[in-house]
Symmetry: C2
Subunit: 515 residues, 2 copies
């Protein structure tokens, strides 16, 4: 497909009338064809109006029709073929294996939500039968179902050009819930976005859905996103990105005449707690696997293990030595954008210049466009005295907090902000000590894991990719896994409705639902 | 019990160290004994610290222990006997039958949540088994459960001195979820609050729970509530009251370092749509039942039918005539507080002085402390031109919007803000016209009902007492019915946990859960 650089509104290509921009290949800093023209306020509002018109129709599509629509999107993405893979590689600097894996995950997510739609449990159908004879007053017939919230604004994430972008997790779960979606493409991968956006628009048409069910907008700056979140027809927001970006959207959403939920997945340093017996028995081995997790994808995962918390001893020394050695051999990697690379370097320099922090290891140097891994250490006392050491450095940088004893460790954990994940490395002999901390760790994170690292987020029913603020804006939700659909639903109750007027899933004739 | 006017913190009576106030009997305007002393910032923060300490313990109580705790509260409320009923009558001006009914509802709610806890479905247990052989990477063992959000601040509502106050729906659902609760008593019924608060504190002690599980605070003004919602240990808010009060709490909650969810149930005019065939066949009858619903409890229900929307014709004339006649006979009623009565009179005067509104009927006069019902009418054009006509007048005031045709009616409905309920009165011949509007009505309200009025809110699994803003601050929730427990929960995922470290409900040994 020739990339036009157009917006996709109402199922048609349309040239943006605001400032244009182009993608940059982060591996060499060169601009890529074509120019993508940004949307004006009028274009954003027209997309919102079309989404609002589509909403009552789209939300009432049958489960089967909606499931097929998601499957058609998946099929359409695969049908683009290598053109999509090559463009994504050029726009992100990520290797082919990663992009192909991410494409498989994106398609798998869409198909998983199609299955979730067909199963229908998300509708939360409830039936309270009438009791005409009840005293003192008769009991009415009450039935409940979840319905879609309304049009959703989705912001593509820089670090998942497929799986959390145009047809990624937020879009798949919002469409599954019955919400039209307007995507603001991430400016780092507009070509990848345009290719996938076209596949979604084609699926909308092939499935005979209202053309406002989906739109794709570009923007060289922040105006499109701001206009979109402020628009009264938008009823929820899905975002993955920086804390600064997420909190800006939260502010706009809370100041609207009608405030709306924002599901922003923002920042997390994903603490890893190493217990003494595990360190003693296999400190060096844990160090090697930590180094591998830290550098995976140039450390650009939301679940990248940025903080190690452990008690002093020979086991910790073995861990540090092996992690340092492994990282010293780690090749430099191209980061997603020049801006991200620069921010990473600044973050590393900031850690390195902190008087209470010392550098343990540095990865290999690379080109001017690549970043090297970095590992630092500090003491519990210094960590507690310097809250800025909790700030995420997005990329392959880690900080080890050396504790004198269990009390230190507990105090450090108590000082943590909300996290996506907390990992524990432990042996059987550590279970008692760890189990005392679980009630506290649950309060801090969306996912706890044992003898592993948070990178590698399973897309499944029991996954929580979420967590208390500031990991996300709304700790009651997950952006990965089937539970994500509930972010875009609300319950409605129907009292004493005649059969003819009931929505299909609640009719007496739909006996399958009444289990 | 002799009322001390003390706060209840850490299971003990404690004299508030801020300004004191007393209850006023709204029937005669006289002050009642004793003085209730307000809590200082230090006292609020101590209650919050105790709640935070209690949280990890209370959230891990067994389902059976927690269910028994709620049942003990219910038993304790009944054990207070007539002292509670008499005090509530004196503090609210509500009649004995209403207070006794509300006590039954309060006790019933607590027992319903005890049942909900024992059933355990709210934990949302999910199990994704490991697949060691999966390619390209092994699948981990993932298990999920909902856990409690943290300590919850509950604001007693003036209009439900038992069912939505100290041990009302918000408290019952938060305690059921595993959240400690701090109640800010409504200053209109502090004695009723103190009696119920003592019953809760006694149940905490009898069940051997941490003393910080519950606290009761008084305040002559707004400081306690503001301090409470801003406190970093409070993790959610339950509120029923005015839009002004609710939005003020939303603002505080969104500006915290860690924003928290606010479940504020604020204002709703509960539109009633009368369809032509129903009006023709039984307009007069609908008019009489409307008048009865409008004046129930002096119109002080959140679901009071404040707006009638109908198409001109003989049927509407019959409705208006019969409603007007019934209201003219309606006795004046004592409102909950002098302030509420004054606000109602001002609201009625404002409607009456609007040039495009005419008064159709007025209820009987009463004492200086009582309010009379009032019914007004206007045209669709005037209603659309004057958005302030949508503002709730809390009390027994109704406004009829006369439409020329179905298009008018649809335009009026499209102009509505979010509502708790929308009622439809229709005959079989109206179903086609009504069914076209359902997708639009669902977007506007939490509960739709046919041939009835929203007053009378069933406490059951399929009830939604919620709705889009400004009916509530969070349209994804309900404050009545078992679904209310989900407001205070969040999901946590456990990956590759050894059996010994898993929370009890997720252990392999808990095979009952794995269905």
């Amino acid at each position: 497909m020739t990339l036009s650089g157009d917006l996709l509104i109402g199922g048609a290509n349309e040239r943006g009338a605001a400032a244009a921009f182009s993608a940059t290949n982060p591996a060499d800093g060169n601009a890529m064809e074509p120019n993508f023209a940004g949307a004006t306020k009028e274009q954003v509002e027209r997309a919102a109006a079309l989404a609002w018109d589509a909403f009552p129709v789209y939300k009432e599509t049958s489960l089967e029709d909606r499931a097929r629509f998601l499957e058609a999107i998946a099929q359409g993405i695969l049908a683009i073929g290598d053109e999509l893979v090559l463009r994504a590689i050029d726009e992100t600097g990520l290797p082919r294996g990663r992009i192909e894996g991410e494409r498989a995950r994106t398609v798998g997510q869409l198909r998983l939500f199609a299955k979730e739609i067909r199963e229908g449990a998300f509708q939360e159908l409830r039936f309270d039968p009438a009791e005409a004879d009840r005293k003192p007053v008769a009991k009415p017939d009450l039935r409940l179902r979840n319905i879609a919230l309304g049009p959703v604004a989705v912001f593509g994430a820089s670090n998942f050009p497929l799986a959390f972008s145009v047809a990624g997790g937020d879009t798949a779960s919002a469409l599954a819930a019955g919400c039209p979606v307007i995507v603001k493409a991430h400016s780092a991968h507009p070509g990848t976005s345009a290719l996938v956006g076209r596949a979604v628009v084609d699926a909308v048409a092939a499935c005979g859905l209202p053309s406002g069910t989906f739109a794709l907008l570009f923007d060289a700056g922040f105006g499109v996103g701001q206009t979109l979140v402020a628009d009264h027809r938008i009823r929820a927001v899905g975002f993955t990105g920086s804390r600064r970006g997420g909190t800006a959207l939260m502010k706009i959403a809370s100041e609207r005449k009608q405030p709306i939920p924002v599901y922003a997945e923002m920042s997390s340093i994903n603490p890893v707690i190493l217990y003494p017996n595990a360190l003693l028995s296999r400190g060096a081995e844990i160090g090697r696997s930590f180094a591998a997790s830290l550098t995976l994808g140039a450390g650009q995962f939301c679940t990248n293990p940025g903080l190690i918390i452990a008690i002093e001893g020979a086991g910790l020394d073995a861990f540090v030595e092996s992690a340092a050695a492994a990282l010293a051999e780690a090749p430099a990697q191209t980061m997603l954008t020049g801006g991200i690379c620069e921010a990473y370097r600044k973050g590393v320099a900031r850690l390195g210049s902190s008087p209470s922090v010392s550098q343990v290891s540095a990865g290999k140097d690379g080109t001017a466009h690549q970043a090297s891994a970095a590992l630092f250490q500090t003491t519990a006392a210094a960590f507690l005295a310097n809250p800025e050491l909790q700030e995420e450095v997005f990329g392959a940088a880690g900080l080890i907090v050396r504790c004198r004893n269990h009390d230190d460790l507990r105090t450090v954990v108590e000082s943590l902000e909300g996290q996506l994940t907390i990992a524990l490395h432990l042996d059987a002999k550590d279970v008692d000590a760890a189990s005392k901390m679980i009630p506290q760790l649950e309060i801090l994170a969306g996912r706890l894991l044992v003898n592993g690292f948070g990178t590698g987020v399973e897309v499944s029913p029991a996954m929580v990719h979420g967590g208390p603020y500031p990991a996300t804006s709304d700790g009651r939700s997950t952006s990965v896994g089937t539970l994500a659909i509930y972010r875009f639903l609300r319950p409605v109750s129907y009292q004493d409705f005649p059969e003819d007027l009931l929505p299909a899933p609640l009719k007496n004739s739909n006996s399958a639902a009444r289990v």
